[in-house]
Symmetry: C2
Subunit: 533 residues, 2 copies
Amino acid sequence: MDFQKVIAFATRRGLFQPAFGAYGGLAGFLDYGPVGVKLRRRILEVWRRHYVIDAGCLELDGALIGPEVLFKASGHLGEFDDPLVNCDDCGKQFRADHLIEDGEEMARDKLANALSRTACPNCGAGLSEMTAFNLMFSTKVGAGKGLQGYLRPETAQSIFLAFPWLLRQNRGKLPFAVGQIGRSFRNEISARQGPLRMREFTAMEVEHFFLPDNEPQLSDDLSKVTITLLNSAGKEITCSVGEAHSDGTVNSSLVACHLARAQLFFTDIGVPKNKLRFRQHGSNEMAHYSSDCWDGEIDTSLGWVEVVGVAHRGDYDLSAHGNASSKEFRVAVPGTGKETEIWVPDIGKLGKEFKSDAKIILEAIKDIELQPGILVEVNGDKVELTSEYMSQKTERRSEMVYANVVEPAFGLDRILYCLLESSWKSDGEREWISLPQETSPYDLLVAPLMTKDNLDIKAHEIMKAATKINIDAYYDEAGSIGRRYARADEIGIFYSMTIDHQTLEDGTVTLRERDSKDQNRLSIDDALNKVRR
Amino acid sequence: MDFQKVIAFATRRGLFQPAFGAYGGLAGFLDYGPVGVKLRRRILEVWRRHYVIDAGCLELDGALIGPEVLFKASGHLGEFDDPLVNCDDCGKQFRADHLIEDGEEMARDKLANALSRTACPNCGAGLSEMTAFNLMFSTKVGAGKGLQGYLRPETAQSIFLAFPWLLRQNRGKLPFAVGQIGRSFRNEISARQGPLRMREFTAMEVEHFFLPDNEPQLSDDLSKVTITLLNSAGKEITCSVGEAHSDGTVNSSLVACHLARAQLFFTDIGVPKNKLRFRQHGSNEMAHYSSDCWDGEIDTSLGWVEVVGVAHRGDYDLSAHGNASSKEFRVAVPGTGKETEIWVPDIGKLGKEFKSDAKIILEAIKDIELQPGILVEVNGDKVELTSEYMSQKTERRSEMVYANVVEPAFGLDRILYCLLESSWKSDGEREWISLPQETSPYDLLVAPLMTKDNLDIKAHEIMKAATKINIDAYYDEAGSIGRRYARADEIGIFYSMTIDHQTLEDGTVTLRERDSKDQNRLSIDDALNKVRR
């Protein structure tokens, strides 16, 4: 399927449609319908299995609106923008880097220069000066003038800001990873219809935190995963993740882990391996906070579409919030600081001199930096502790350090689009979506051969039994059985079950598998057990 | 637990915390943490079982930002506001109806009158004129000046606007219901910390569409559900839903259905029956679009808290969008229109006169309103069809009607709060959350007695086996086993499994049930099968 066919199919069969059509539409927003919501949920279930259950991510669900001070600290207020030009004559607005060949990779001054020699593509007149258009949606929180707020442009900032709390939930231990599924917003200058450049989208992001000198290593399982990489020099290699890490193609072991995990996730949801690659960002393309970044891309009729970015963000975000806010965002690492000479009490001498009062003195100096000559109150009297009651000791204190982070950030809407394109099949006779059962929108079509002779009543009974064991079943009694198979295949229902007169006699049904079209006569129980995931 | 205790507990154990604390906080926004996200998902899973699987709702996931024209039509731009007063002296802002006793039930002119005799509660000075503050968050979509948009104040409008599409997905048939889980936004004047009056919240809404003369009836199952009702006259009765409907306490059969469904949902997630009631709105309290409305309320330390509203919205929303937009929002109901005299062709006479050309004539007049004297082109010639080739007939045409709708609208954040309060138990020795397994945040604690002698390795193996069969398991090896039970009980983990030396010998473990504290020695497989839901 190409783009236009996917969009038409999605609208016709209830996957998604452009939102607000009754009011002329609003580019960049979609409604997901009955089949689309199911497909999204199935993809998210696999994602949760990979990241929350297997990788043990803690989960967060943060607020979508945030205060300005947060986005000032994160850098989004200053730097999260696209270059904008207007035509003074016709009034049209354009994303400047889309008007110039390779404009997206150009530095802003070069781009401005190139634009000065470019005419309005709509009317041919001259263009205005290029300006920076911030991509965050702006809003006001509270009554009256209100407080300046923005809709989050990435889910990541919720995680960074909650880091101190999440670290406590993990009992202070690093490394740990946090996953979040949620909406994000980017006020694109030129949003398109369809799920590829949306203004409102759903992201699945993981922030994997670790101490800089204790980066998580590749496990045996992950290092064996085979992957196709296109490095920033333009060289494409297919090899194991372990090889790519040991030969230096992927420098960071944790970035390598997450490339392997992403590869496993995408192939599990049904993306063919030969349509999947990971492309390294060049230094021009890389976000300001990132030291290495790889885009997972899927091959489509529109070219390679980015569906995940795996970025090493260093300590950029945590240190930004640590510096800008009142909270401690660093972690104490015992025994890593420089050597310091400290005074410690000489308990023997204190006991000898002060007897039972020694306890009072020790309690009083428990939490203070000890120095000779310090005054301590004992039963109303001030007592001076000279150096004879202390000794000196060399200590390595805890150093406060910022954790580093590697982030895989997935875009659900784009994944869904690419999955529809790559799983669509046709053999001349029929068209179907060939997804694994786990990501098929429904497990089972339940179809009575006809609606008389109580076949429909039996079919409804089977529907109930199926849903009771968590089978996502779809009931259809309209039209010929062939027509119903065709409708079911089209939206990728994995199995079809036909209830006929024999069912009433011997309790067997016909179970048909979508991809092979194989049909088997089975007892109702055996059929449901086969369908059950 | 009272409010303060719930909030402290939720922050300590990772259920939720006020968002943006590092930057001084922003009232009305929460972060849900690792345990909170799990509890939310469990509640939503039960909700989906009740509404999507059992009741067969189609699902929608609509955009959160919408254009102004939509909210103008829905009435939110004009009427979705709270009364606001400022103090000219100290600059504080107040929700006017919170300054006057019973202010929330007062008409606006009465409220303004009462306010003129009221001083600023902060400084004692006089208050400004009361104004209407619209509760929608406002934003601009697109570059430059942008298009005026708002964050949706209820998920419902996404469903109403998608009605024509959803009706097609249901092959034009009514009744049908649509469910949606998603974020909504209300820019409250005085948002509170905590999950009770939030500016950003998660709603689960169902719109159940039906033809006005074909309202869905109560099923036997639903009519048997026992429920406590407090009608608008202040009379409280506990009876079956069937009785409440037949004696007229609940007029609409579909409203009665949804009261019963809500009762079943709340008791399934673990709300005690004696803490649950449905209170009918008085005419003062009712939204402008509603003809009957019942609030499901849970008894808490703060009084009765509304957790669902079941409203009969009539055809208010569909007709609003039908009138304001370019789309047809009505449904054609065959045979329900008024009698009309129409002309139909007399096929016998046409055949006799025009022979084989009769087919051409019939084809040409197929889709037009037939009238004597009409001209039809036949093989290049114009032919006049006089009344001798027609006869008159009386017909009832399809009438175009707006569907009616009954809406149950749930608030997830409030449900979660009330559930924590109502399920919290203490027996002096320990404190625990006593939820059914289905809504317990985790199914299982996996705890090796100690981390030596390979007990931890065995425990990790069991973790893997557990997660493979979809058991939500939590691994804990820190501290004494008693301390670990206590921590698990506190967040409501349903079972605890201890791995000890005997496990290595005979493959058995100790399985402890949270509420009873009963412990049983079982094989690993038997234990996991017991835990599996």
